[in-house]
């Protein structure tokens, strides 16, 4: 019997396993997949080489889970795009690496605008864990410090801005829009036994030198070294088992290769299976004592879904037309970031709640010319010349805005539809609302303003367009933390109100989404929760 069963090996489960084993706790880690073998990564495979290899039947590791293997349901006309990585390290293998601290502007939002329930923690509660998480994760960034994005002394130096980013900075300065160095968990210095980032920009295919933070390289091996960690790969968890006292007693899972059912016992269970899958597992953990799912006496489990919405505006800077190729790869993704500014006193009061920051994914020649060519009309020699002229001049603006948490945006399980193991499928019923629509308008306006300031050629876009929900890959709040057990599922330490020996440490624990990418906060919260858990175990309360 394990001291602690951890479900999932990504940002949250990986951190839980790491922290607990460092403290001498025996951990059994159940992972829905297996290791991704670095020898077969296609990190430096150029697109044409990749095409050639594919035509010969070769393929890189498939990080993202095939939806046919593990389906989920959505209501007619309400699509949801769920990205899952089942395997060692989870989504940290391919994540965007943006590492932003949340601030009291986020943690106190509900108190100030009345939407949703308050977070049970404040910035001061998590700040020491942000410090430790940034050190561990090798986050780079600048010296900025604001009410939106608290400063940090832990950061590695940021990479220099690209040409296009130099111009974007000037536009933002003119418009009094804040722009700071991006914060990303790419190592710009040697870190944790890895060489620094080599600026190939291909992070999304998995890093062949492990030079950005991912749990498969930077937490799990260290946890294994303690001798306290056992990993069980290909263990697709179905339910949490409960004893007669209503405490978690173990986990039921299915072997992904054989389909065989297994049960393991543990003193404590920590769920870090990602927001949607942890919620699915809890909803499927029904018993006479917990007829609506485990820890769901409040009827809040599965409800209150929130995430981020994005819009995408691209333009070409005439200042960079026809200048020829410059290597813009950098650390992959933008080197700059616009923190939220709509709340500033010198700004008109927005007609919506919460806010957005702006990311800039691709600048200049970071992509193939295909991205440019797809946005230009026509054909023939003039088309070809137009592509070449604009290739180095691309800037792309991607505001990320907070989607409000709403009770009716929810995950349920459908007893009549089963997966390959006979376990009920989850149904995701999510839609954006009026607040999101108004915010998108401001997001589009801001992008246009920035591009107009530079005299940019704006690629025509549809102002009514929005991504399919789920596209941000930042799902939250379906198992939210809060002070009041009537309106929340977890307490301030990610511990279930109704089941003291069950912790949920992934993004589902968030009370609201904020506009910030969540992984740094997930790691910090999982660290804090497992510090608390280890102490509870040491003192015998658990």
């Amino acid at each position: 019997m394990a001291d602690v069963i951890v479900v999932g090996s990504g940002a949250s489960g990986g951190m839980a396993a790491y922290n607990l084993t460092q403290k001498g706790v025996k951990v059994l880690l159940l992972d829905a997949g297996d290791e991704f073998d670095r020898r077969y990564f296609w990190t430096h495979t150029l697109p044409y080489e990749a095409d050639g290899r594919r035509r010969k039947g070769d393929a890189p590791p498939q990080f993202f889970l095939d939806k046919e293997e593990q389906p989920y349901l959505t209501p007619e006309g309400k699509p949801f795009d769920l990205a899952r990585v089942w395997g060692r390290g989870g989504k940290t293998n391919v994540w965007g690496r943006v590492s932003l601290r949340m601030s009291d502007l986020d943690f106190t939002a509900a108190e100030r605008d009345g939407w949703g329930i308050p977070w049970p923690i404040r910035y001061a509660d998590i700040a020491p864990y942000y410090d430790r998480a940034e050190q561990l994760m090798g986050v780079c960034g600048g010296t900025d410090d604001s009410d939106v994005l608290p400063g940090s002394r832990q950061l590695m130096p940021p990479p220099a801005p690209r040409c296009g980013e130099v111009f974007l900075q000037k536009a933002c300065d003119t418009l009094r829009i804040p722009m700071v160095a991006g914060r990303r968990a790419n190592f710009t210095r040697p870190h944790r036994g890895s060489v620094p980032c080599h600026y190939c920009g291909a992070c999304g295919d998995g890093c062949d030198t492990a030079s950005f933070f991912n749990t498969a390289d930077h937490l799990i091996p260290q946890a294994l070294e303690t001798g306290h960690l056992e990993i069980r790969p290909n263990a697709v968890v179905a339910r949490i088992l409960v004893d007669e006292r209503g405490r978690a007693s173990g986990v039921q899972y299915f072997d992904r290769r054989t389909g065989a059912e297994r049960q393991v016992k543990g003193r404590v269970v920590v769920l870090g299976a990602s927001a949607m899958d942890s919620t699915r597992i809890l909803l499927n953990s029904k018993s006479p004592r917990f007829p609506n799912g485990l820890g769901n006496g409040s009827d809040q489990l599965g409800r209150n879904f929130c995430e981020q919405q994005m819009v995408h505006v691209r333009g070409f800077l005439p200042q960079l037309f026809g200048r020829g190729y410059v290597n813009d790869d950098g650390i992959g993704g933008e080197h700059v970031y616009v923190p939220r500014f709509n709340h500033r006193p010198d700004r008109p009061k927005p007609d919506y709640l919460r806010g957005f920051g702006i990311q800039f994914w691709n600048t200049g020649a970071q992509t193939t010319g295909a991205d440019v060519a797809h946005s230009l009309p026509g054909f023939g020699a003039s088309f070809k010349a137009a592509v070449k002229k604009r290739y180095p001049a691309l800037v792309s603006l991607h505001p990320f805005g907070e989607v409000l948490s709403r009770a009716e945006n929810r995950v349920t399980v459908d007893e009549s539809r089963k997966d390959r193991y006979g376990v009920p499928l989850m149904k995701i019923d999510v839609g954006f609302g009026e607040n999101e629509r108004k915010m998108r308008r401001h997001m589009y306006d801001t992008c246009e303003e920035i591009l107009h300031t530079l005299g940019a050629e704006i690629v025509p876009f549809d102002r009514e367009a929005n991504d399919v929900p789920g596209s941000s890959i930042h799902e939250h709040a379906t198992c939210r933390m809060g002070k009041d057990p009537k309106t929340s599922v977890l307490n301030a330490f990610n511990q279930m109100h109704e089941v003291a020996n069950l912790f949920v440490v992934d993004g589902s624990a968030f009370t609201s989404a904020s506009e910030k990418n969540p992984t740094l906060t997930i790691v910090a919260l999982a660290w804090r929760a497992t510090d608390y858990l280890a102490e509870e175990m040491r003192t015998g309360r658990l």
């Binding site: 044409y48 010969k56 111009f167 291909a202 999304g204």
Partner: protein, 187 residues
């Protein structure tokens, strides 16, 4: 953008395949195809049409065009690996094009001279187009595939656009152009 941007694709950055992930498990050593290239989906006449269409969309200039970049092979591969419905739609589009060229010029697309080929493509690519929606969307799909095939090819990336990235750099210098740093808004 006409096409939605997929964050998963964006995260992959360069090398994002134009086709969906094709294999469900790691198979680093599947049997390799042998012998000269043969199309898997397109028949001989369709292949000829696709080759000339792609070449008119991205012609040879001082750098190779679609034909020398083997865009037709890419198109055949993507169609063969893609959904059956999309494949059949593409085939119907090819038939539509030849029929339309027959009524306009009395010959199928691949038998037209370049001026006539450009004329039908101009009709299809102008906005709004007076051509049938089926033809317009077929042109859009062909252009999309041609662009993906060409600008992902070695000729398109290196000879046409001079790409030298996705490599190992000891240092990333960023923008080193004084004229960019001294530029002022309004100039």
């Amino acid at each position: 953008m006409r096409e939605p941007i997929d964050r998963r694709q964006a995260l992959r950055r360069l090398g994002a395949p134009a086709v969906a992930p094709l294999f469900s498990h790691l198979h680093p050593a599947l049997p390799k195809a042998e012998g000269p290239w043969k199309p898997r989906f397109l028949n001989e006449s369709e292949l000829e049409t696709v080759t000339s269409l792609a070449e008119r969309i991205i012609p040879e200039t001082d750098t190779p065009g679609a034909r020398r970049a083997l865009v037709h092979q890419f198109v055949d591969f993507v169609l063969a690996e893609g959904e059956a419905a999309a494949r059949e739609r593409f085939r119907e589009g090819l038939a539509w094009l030849d029929k339309r060229c027959g009524s306009l010029f009395g010959r199928p697309f691949a038998r037209l001279d370049e001026g006539q080929q450009d004329e039908i493509l101009t009709r299809l690519s102008s906005s709004p187009s007076s051509e049938e929606p089926a033809g317009v969307s077929f042109f859009g799909e062909t252009k999309r595939l041609s662009v993906d095939g060409y600008y992902r090819s070695e000729a398109g990336m290196t000879q046409e656009l001079g790409f030298e990235g996705r490599t190992f750099l000891a240092e990333f210098k960023g923008c080193t152009h004084p004229e960019h740093h001294s530029w002022k808004v309004g100039e």
